[in-house]
């Protein structure tokens, strides 16, 4: 621990520190390190409670002391959102990481927030099941972090996003309340749907401590086909034709870049007989010569986009558009990237959700992102900046809030009236 960190941690009132240590044990309270900083905001302590009850007791003390708390799983997406206006404490869920109940015959699971997606999937696979979600970095990413960032991928087309898979949640509110809603059954309309409220809330309303999900069977077989297009318009025509067809595909994504012609990929899952029939239908939808069976799975393409070499010259943004506006969005991306001398790549799912990577001078990145956001927001679409160089001029991560921002602030105010959790990181300064 260096001298500066020591003096920072001394800021925490010693009586409070003793109370926290009494709750979680001396081994689970650490002074923070440089690596714990969030967008250059350096917290003072990292606290790792061992149970959700401990976490609730700790967060109550921190809230009473007026400290700002950053909930953390495994840090894979800790930089998403705006920089915190304050950050005193990192509250880690890493120590409660167990699968509480896999009710395989009921196709449900209840899991603690700190469990990684990979560990969860490995357990579910023992009974031929899965959480039908292809989130980023499953070997590290935790259930709590994935929920808080609403991270989903290509499988969303068929199985929905987290909002459609989560059936119950327990959260710790800043005042120490441990509240559950939903339940362990797939069909349940008793009370408000708080699992959806906290999904994608970036930990600003409460700390997710456990969640229950509906599950799906692992596929019997699967096959992926690639379809080449001459340009964005042809790719969009193909995607819309598939979506309007009676194919029962599981996923459909299209890649665009400044280097290569667009490629779309389609995933089928099911019986051998079903897959063979669907391949035949696919070949009638696209020019047969353009359809190739993929030998390597392309379904981690989003991770490839994130595998950039220089974080100081790269920006990553999530876009959400209507499928029919894919062509103008890609054409604008190409045009503004070219005008600002930026390299670019994009991956767009058939749901209209996509991921854009731009590389080049930080000032030019800022200009191109602003142009793209302005255009998308004009079409009732959105662009959320997930990564940008530290030296890029400031750009709000979320974009323009709609007319429901006052209501969102009211919800925040009722659950976290002191602004304890992730202050300033969410939409509209929440």
């Amino acid at each position: 621990m260096d001298a500066a960190t020591k003096s920072e941690s001394a800021v925490l009132h010693s009586a409070l520190r003793y109370k926290i240590i009494a709750l979680v044990g001396n081994d689970h309270v650490h002074a923070s390190l440089a690596v714990d900083a969030i967008a250059d905001v350096q917290p003072k302590l990292v606290i790792e409670p061992g149970t959700e009850t401990e976490l609730a007791a700790v967060i109550r003390l921190l809230n009473e002391a007026g400290l700002a708390v950053i909930p953390r799983g495994s840090s894979t997406k800790i930089s998403w959102g705006n920089p915190p206006t304050r950050a005193d404490i990192i509250l880690s869920t890493a120590r409660f990481n167990q699968i509480i109940e896999h009710a395989w015959a009921d196709l449900t699971v209840t899991v603690q927030a700190g469990c990684t997606l990979q560990k969860l999937q490995e357990t579910l696979a023992q009974h031929g099941q899965r959480l039908a979600l292809d989130a980023l970095w499953p070997e590290k990413a935790t259930v709590g972090g994935i929920l808080s960032t609403n991270d989903s991928g290509a499988l969303r087309l068929r199985f929905g996003a987290l909002r459609d898979l989560i059936i119950g949640v327990t959260i710790a509110l800043p005042d120490g309340t441990l509240a559950s809603s939903g339940g362990k059954v797939v069909k349940n309309v008793a009370g408000y749907d708080l699992p959806k409220l906290v999904t994608g809330a970036l930990g600003t309303l409460g700390v997710i401590t456990r969640a229950s999900f509906r599950l799906h069977p692992l596929p019997l077989n699967s096959r992926t086909f690639s379809v080449l297009s001459a340009d964005a318009e042809q790719a969009q025509t193909f995607v819309l034709a598939v979506q309007d067809s009676r194919l029962a595909h599981t996923a459909l994504q299209s890649h665009f870049s400044d280097e290569n012609s667009p490629v779309s990929e389609i995933l089928f899952e099911g019986t051998e007989a079903g897959l063979a029939a669907q391949e035949k239908q696919l070949r009638t939808l696209a020019a047969p010569a353009n359809v190739v069976e993929a030998s390597v799975s392309p379904w981690t393409a989003r991770e490839s986009l994130w595998a950039f070499s220089d974080p100081e010259t790269t920006a990553i943004a999530k876009i959400s558009i209507l499928p029919t506006t894919m062509t103008p969005a890609i054409e604008l991306l190409a045009k503004s990237a070219h005008a600002h001398q930026l390299r670019w790549k994009a991956l767009v799912y058939a749901t209209g959700v996509g991921c854009v990577r731009l590389e080049g001078d930080p000032g030019a990145l800022h200009a191109a992102l602003e142009i793209l956001r302005r255009d998308l927001e004009g079409r009732n679409s959105s662009l959320v900046v997930l990564h940008h160089p530290a030296k890029m001029p400031a750009l709000d991560a979320w974009g323009a809030p709609g007319d429901s921002l006052p209501l969102m602030k009211s919800v925040k105010n009722r659950l976290d009236p002191k602004g304890t959790l992730n202050p300033g990181r969410f939409l509209g300064g929440i």
Partner: protein, 482 residues
């Protein structure tokens, strides 16, 4: 009600949009749950979002509670009027505003009938997936309030899965837009919170729906088992085999008898009837259907039929979807319950229901969405026999307690409403309910929108913004501020 307010309301909706005479108000004193009745002060029938907004602004100014109503088919008393309040009927706001096939979206007003959405889009091979049994009469707005399900939500999801965005008039009269045509609008998923909030957070005036392409083929299989236990074991076998049918429905013998008496679906007379529907590409469905057939036979099915035509399939479903009303053929009165259990608890819960039925001398017919464990026990009784209605209600609540004890829920699709609010504190702990209540206060600090529903005890919001005005519940001495 103050004549000044009545005339202000009349000015918004016109003479034909206001009902205030006692004889006409009787129509609105209950919804599909007829054993709770309250006369509203007035019923308003706006025909635009702007009219809804103007009405709600007056309600907010006057602290006048209001209840939104769609078609009034709800089975938990969600649209039951509240004392000294008005009813806002959305029945006249029944336009389908936009259909966008390329993006698979439709924008509708809340009074549109569920089945009318499908009727409008089926020529292009699309349908609207949530299919509550009342879909030929229930409204999209009511479906949004209750997060309605239906037989096919096993595969396709619930109303909340298919609502992408909402235009909402909040209880203070402000209009906001939640979600939208594109996914993942930045910010909290308030559309997700609003759907299923049973009219307690405001009134939806426009709904953006996801529409779905019809699968290449649909096959419906009917299997007769000696009892619901064997039928339940077959369901487990189907799930364990890694299949996700479009629907799996189960009926017990009493429910079969009722359906036969009412619509003659030609069901086999058996102890447990299973209806399994698979959809998708022909080759896929045919391969899986053979497997379902084998699983049913190995679990004791003594008769298996596959509907051979659309007409046969429609008849099979007619029997199932009319099951509630059909019970009227075998009993003068009945209560429909709506519990959920983990599917594996079915044999144990069924035998408990049977025991309760015998102990209380009341027959219980059972209709289930078996794939997702949603039970609809129908408790049969005769209101003309003194005490029997109370006994039937008590029995129906005991069944819900069984569901809670099995790790399930008190409602899978009908909502809590008026009927089950007392059960909420059996299912949720006080901190859970308090947290939900805090969300309610964010939307409706004066609790004007369908107050007295969902939550077990009246409770008021602290730190209400603006000038203090006593809540009607406070004035009436029913609740106190804390």
């Amino acid at each position: 009600m103050d004549p000044r307010i009545i005339s202000e309301l009349r000015a918004i909706v016109g003479e034909r949009g206001l009902i205030s005479s006692p004889e006409e108000l009787h129509t609105y004193e209950c919804d599909g749950l007829t054993n709770f009745r309250v006369m509203p002060r007035a019923v308003l029938l706006p025909n635009s979002a702007e009219q809804v907004q103007a009405i709600v602004r007056i309600c907010h100014r006057e602290r006048l509670p209001f209840v939104a109503r769609g078609s009034g088919t709800g089975l938990s008393g969600g649209a039951l009027p509240v004392e000294n309040g008005i009813v806002i009927s959305l029945a006249r706001m029944n336009r389908i505003l936009e259909v966008d096939f390329a993006n698979a979206r439709a924008v509708v007003e809340p009074g549109v009938i569920n089945l009318d959405v499908t009727a409008r889009i089926q020529h292009n091979g699309y349908f609207y997936a949530p299919d509550p049994s009342s879909q030929s009469v229930c409204s999209i707005g009511g479906n949004v309030a209750e997060n309605s399900g239906g037989a096919h939500c096993l595969k396709y999801g619930f109303t909340t899965t298919h609502v992408l965005g909402l235009e909402v008039v909040l209880p203070d009269g402000e209009m906001v837009h939640l979600g939208g045509k594109t996914l993942d609008a930045p910010g909290y998923d308030l559309a997700g919170v609003f759907v299923g909030s049973e009219g307690t957070l405001g009134i939806a005036t426009k709904v953006i729906l996801r529409i779905v392409k019809r699968p290449e083929c649909i096959r419906t299989l009917l299997a007769a088992f000696p009892s619901t236990n064997e039928a339940g074991a077959a369901v487990s076998g189907i799930i364990a085999a890694g299949m996700l049918p479009a629907a799996i429905e189960m009926m017990d013998n009493l429910a079969i008898q009722a359906a036969e008496a009412a619509v003659h679906p030609n069901y086999p007379n058996c102890g447990g009837l299973l209806l399994v529907e698979l959809d998708g590409p022909v080759a896929e469905v045919e391969a899986l259907m053979t497997h379902v057939d084998e699983i049913c036979r190995s679990n004791g099915a003594w008769e298996i039929r596959v509907a051979q035509s659309d007409a046969e399939r429609a008849l099979v479903w007619k029997g199932r979807k009319s099951a509630f009303a059909a019970v009227g053929r075998i009993s003068p009165n009945y209560i429909v319950q709506d519990g959920v259990i983990p599917r594996t608890a079915l044999p144990q819960v069924m035998s408990e229901i049977d025991r309760l039925s015998q102990e209380n001398g009341l027959r219980v017919a059972n209709v289930f969405h078996a794939g997702d464990g949603n039970l609809h026990p129908l408790v049969l009784y005769d209101r003309s026999i003194p005490g029997q209605e109370e006994a039937a209600l008590a029995l129906s609540y005991k069944i819900l307690e069984l569901c809670i004890a099995a790790g399930g829920s008190i409602t899978g699709e009908h909502g809590v409403g008026e009927e089950k609010k007392s059960m909420m504190s059996k299912m949720f702990a006080e901190p859970d309910l308090n947290t939900m209540h805090r969300v309610r206060c964010a939307f409706d600090p004066f609790q004007l929108s369908n107050p007295t529903k969902v939550f077990p005890t009246p409770r008021l919001c602290g730190e209400t913004p603006g000038e203090y005005a006593p809540h009607p519940l406070e004035t009436a001495g029913i609740a106190e501020r804390f």
